[in-house]
Structure formats: structure tokens, C-alpha cells
């Protein structure tokens, strides 16, 4: 289960970790993208945290909506709409339920639809998919997350800008998968399961 306080704590921890890891994430992006994933995510998450200060007594749906809008308007590229869609879908779903598994499931479906993508294509979905399954089985831990991030290294990118590299995309961790790994580790740290 998730509530407003825990959700905000989760996203604040995520923002902090993204700030610390921005250079590392951008470096991951260098061989297969255009070396700006860390900076883009950092700009977005700083805006997310600022948005929390502007709301008085928000509900869970509002927290997720503000998160989505900040990410959509600040991140750009492909990551902005993908993360933005995830939180927008959670915002809609949060009006009916606060069950974490259901919220994340609807977010994952939104990402798949927005990106016209599925697991195995070397994207953030390769982290979201196993994490959502683990949350539903009550078995999410850091090891599951690390393994999911690592699994993208040997994959061939078949979608997004990395796909233009063909075989040359193999051997690099997907930057979106890496930032999603940070997102879910922050969730565990905030005590959300």
C-alpha cells in the first residue's frame, strides 16, 4: 500500500539519488544515445520536488499528476513522455486504489503503449516488467532490481535511437533501465512494498 507521505518520500529520495548519479547516467547514455539522460532526469526530478511545495494537502492522485506534469514538461527526449505517462496512469488509477501492484501494473501498460514497446527490447520496460511481477508476489528486493538492470547489457536494442546502432548496442546497460533501477531502489528505501 502507498499513501501521500510515502509517495512523496519515495520521489524525494529518487530525486536525491538522480542528482548524485546524473553524470553516471549520462555516461551510460554516451555509447548508445546522446549522453544527456542523467541531466534530463535531474532537471525533471528537481521540478517534481518543487511541485510538492506548491500543493496544500494533496491526495495520492494529485502527487502522481504533479510528478507526471513536471517530468513531461522538463525532461524531453523519450524519457520525459515515458516516465510522464507512467505517473499519469498511476494518477488516474490512484482514484480507485492505493494497491502498489495495481498502480505499477497500469503504469507499465502505459509505458508499453506510449513507447509501442515490449520486454526484451533493451528499454526501461526490462526493469519495470520484472519489478511489477515481484511487487505482486511480495518478493521485490534490491537483487531483483540489479539483475533486471544488468539484463539489458547483453540485449540488442530494437527500438529507440540505440536501435540504429544494431549490434553495436550490445554490451551497454540501457540508461532508462538504469534510472528505473534507481527509482525502484528508492521505493524500497522509502518503505513502500
Amino acid at each position: 500500500m502507498i499513501n501521500v507521505t510515502k509517495a512523496q518520500e519515495w520521489l524525494k529520495i529518487f530525486a536525491q539519488k538522480i542528482d548524485e548519479n546524473a553524470d553516471k547516467l549520462s555516461q551510460l547514455d554516451e555509447p548508445i544515445g546522446d549522453a544527456d539522460h542523467g541531466n534530463n532526469m535531474n532537471r525533471g526530478m528537481q521540478a517534481v520536488v518543487e511541485s510538492f511545495d506548491k500543493e496544500n494537502d494533496p491526495d495520492l492522485s494529485t502527487v502522481f499528476r504533479d510528478t507526471a506534469m513536471a517530468l513531461i514538461s522538463k525532461v524531453g527526449g523519450a524519457s520525459g513522455p515515458l516516465y510522464g505517462t507512467a505517473f499519469l496512469e498511476m494518477s488516474k488509477k490512484a482514484k480507485e486504489t492505493s494497491d502498489l501492484g495495481e498502480l505499477l501494473q497500469t503504469a507499465l501498460e502505459g509505458i508499453e503503449k506510449r513507447g509501442n514497446s515490449k520486454p526484451g527490447q533493451k528499454t526501461l520496460i526490462d526493469v519495470w516488467d520484472p519489478v511489477v511481477k515481484a511487487v505482486k508476489n511480495n518478493s521485490l528486493d534490491e537483487k531483483t532490481i540489479d539483475a533486471a538492470v544488468e539484463s539489458t547489457k547483453s540485449m540488442l536494442a530494437t527500438i529507440g535511437r540505440a536501435s540504429y546502432l544494431g549490434d553495436r548496442s550490445i554490451g551497454h546497460i540501457d540508461p532508462g533501465a538504469a534510472s528505473s533501477g534507481v527509482l525502484f531502489k528508492s521505493m524500497i528505501e522509502a518503505g513502500i512494498k
Binding site: 513531461i72 514538461s73 524531453g76 523519450a78 520525459g80 513522455p81 505517462t85 535511437r161 536501435s163 544494431g166
Partner: protein, 332 residues
């Protein structure tokens, strides 16, 4: 990196500011955005709005093609990064006259997703929006591992035809059918002599040896299909026309429009030599293009190189659209 800029973070807003202040009779800034809209809003009355946009660094694309007869508005993202949906949505609102808005999007995943989200926002507010995703770059068409062809310089022919049809009063549905009909007939292929330097990165996106070139690059210095030793203009033309012939099946009884596009650092002198060689090569097949354009139109900052677009004019009306008068900064 040597560039005439101030802070690398400020290049996009400062560029747009300079542009709208240079040509206030043609474009205005949409408040709180990096988007520009036609100054002559009266003549848009009752017509479908046409918008386009994408990352910055491709100047004069896209703002240079905003004006009567072409785009109604254009949205600029950060350098080589798609604009965000809120900015695109502001442009949609600025040009909607109640008859809907048509978006021309280049096939890059970030662009496609951000324009899609903007469409969702507009749908929620009752504004009808339709779009075409342009994928004219034939360099990557045979790869198993891509999400299709990229959208590059041939997009300008789409801007021109759709803009002309919209100005003549075509409906949103008519523009959509026209765009779908035109799309497969526009093909582009490029060659790079050197890569672009993104101001915030500070170094070139890739390195080619002094005597090396890369065929089939995209407009952000993405890899192409092969590296070769530098060759003469005639040999470059042979390679590029060969690729276009494979894809479009060039025939003397068909009509074509041709676009020779400089990538930013290739002088017009070289572009005209390349154009002469292209016309000679097409002449061998008894083809004389019915419409021609040469210049730096879809650039890649300071990349040296050239792209060649051929557009098979399968319908006579398309040539009329290309010749339709416009008032923009960069298309005349």
C-alpha cells in the same frame, strides 16, 4: 569548441529571440515557450492549423518555414532533443481555429512520443488533432533492427505540400489523406564528411579520419550504412542516386522534385557542384526534375555533408503545392 554563443544552456532561447526580433513581420513568439507562430493570424481564419517542430540545431528548420502558405507554428526543443508536450500543446492552441490542427512529425522516438502526448492533451480539451510521421531516410530501411526509417530533409516537401493545401482550405481529414498519399514518394539519403558539435557537449558527436566519409548518416550524426575513403562529387552522386534508384525506381516518364540540402558546414559552392553532378546523372536517365531546391535547409549544426531528396510527383497537384507562393523566413 569555438562557437559564437554565450552560455551553452541558453542557445535555444537566445536563438529564438534573435529570430523573432529579426523577422517580426513573419513570426511571433508564443508566450512562455520556444515556439513561434505566424504573425499574419487573420489569414489563418477558418483554416486547419499546421504545426511541426523537433530538436534545435536543424535551422532554418523548423521556424524558418512558418508563414502564410506553409507552417502555422513551429516548436523548438533543446539541441537535438524533442520539444516537450506542454510546448507543443501551446502551439496547437495558438493555431486552432476550430477546424483542427495537423502535425508533421519526424520519425524519431522522442518526437513521436512527445507529439503524441500533446495530441492526448488536446483531445482532452476537445481540439481535433491529426498527424503524419515522416520517414523519408532510406539509409536504414533494410535493417532488421530499427523502428523504421528516420525523418530527415524530405520532411520539408511535406511541410510545403500540406501548408499549401491547408492555405487553400483543405479539411483536417483531407490533409491526413494527402499526407499519407505523399509520404512513400519522398526519399532521402545523406553523406557526412564530419560530425556536429552540440554546444552543451562541447565535442563532435563522432570522429572520421581526415580522408574518411560516412554514408547514410541521420541528422543528429547517427551512424550510417558504411564508411568510405573521401571521393569526388561525381562518385558521391553515383552512390546516392544508386540508393535512391533502388528505392524509388527512377523512370524518365515520371516527374520528380529534388532537394539538395547542406548539413551546415558544407559551402554552397560544393552544394552547387554536387547539384550539377546530380542533374547530369539524372540526365543520363532522361530525367529533368520539375522542381528544384538547393541550400542549407535541414542542417545538423556544423556537420559537413549533404543530403539528396527525390520526391516522385505521382499527382500533378503536388507540383502546384510546391510552387504555391509562401511568405516565410527560409523558403522562397
Amino acid at each position: 569548441m569555438k562557437k559564437i554563443i554565450n552560455n551553452p544552456h541558453d542557445v535555444v532561447p537566445e536563438m529564438i529571440d534573435g529570430m523573432v526580433r529579426s523577422y517580426p513581420q513573419i513570426v511571433n513568439l508564443i508566450n512562455n515557450t520556444y515556439a513561434v507562430v505566424r504573425s499574419d493570424q487573420e489569414s489563418m481564419k477558418g483554416k486547419v492549423g499546421v504545426i511541426s517542430g523537433g530538436g534545435s540545431g536543424h535551422e532554418p528548420t523548423h521556424a524558418g518555414f512558418v508563414g502564410k502558405g506553409m507552417l502555422s507554428a513551429a516548436v523548438a526543443g533543446q539541441v537535438f532533443t524533442s520539444p516537450t508536450p506542454d510546448q507543443i500543446y501551446e502551439a496547437i492552441k495558438a493555431v486552432d481555429q476550430g477546424n483542427g490542427v495537423f502535425m508533421i512529425v519526424k520519425n524519431y522516438s522522442g518526437d513521436v512520443m512527445n507529439f503524441d502526448m500533446a495530441k492526448d492533451l488536446a483531445d482532452a480539451d476537445g481540439i481535433k488533432v491529426k498527424s503524419i510521421v515522416v520517414d523519408d531516410d532510406i539509409a536504414v530501411e533494410n535493417s532488421l533492427y530499427t523502428q523504421g526509417r528516420r525523418g530527415v530533409a524530405g520532411t520539408l516537401f511535406m511541410h510545403k505540400c500540406i501548408g499549401a493545401a491547408a492555405d487553400q482550405g483543405a479539411s483536417l481529414d483531407e490533409l491526413e489523406s494527402l499526407a499519407k498519399e505523399i509520404l512513400p514518394h519522398i526519399n532521402t539519403i545523406a553523406v557526412a564528411l564530419s560530425a556536429a558539435t552540440v554546444p552543451e557537449v562541447g565535442k563532435p558527436g563522432f570522429t572520421l579520419a581526415e580522408d574518411e566519409i560516412e554514408f547514410g548518416v541521420g541528422i543528429h550524426s547517427e551512424p550510417g550504412y558504411k564508411k568510405e575513403k573521401m571521393m569526388s562529387s561525381k562518385e558521391l552522386v553515383s552512390e546516392l542516386i544508386g540508393k535512391l534508384d533502388n528505392s524509388l525506381h527512377l523512370e524518365s516518364n515520371k516527374q520528380y522534385a529534388m532537394l539538395v540540402n547542406g548539413m551546415g558546414a558544407t559551402p554552397l559552392m560544393e552544394q552547387f557542384i554536387f547539384t550539377k553532378d546530380t542533374l547530369d546523372k539524372l540526365g543520363e536517365k532522361n530525367i529533368t526534375p520539375a522542381f528544384m531546391k538547393v541550400g542549407n535547409l535541414m542542417t545538423s549544426i556544423d556537420m559537413a555533408g549533404i543530403s539528396l531528396t527525390l520526391f516522385e510527383l505521382a499527382d500533378k497537384k503536388w507540383l502546384d503545392y510546391l510552387n504555391y507562393p509562401v511568405k516565410t523566413i527560409a523558403w522562397s
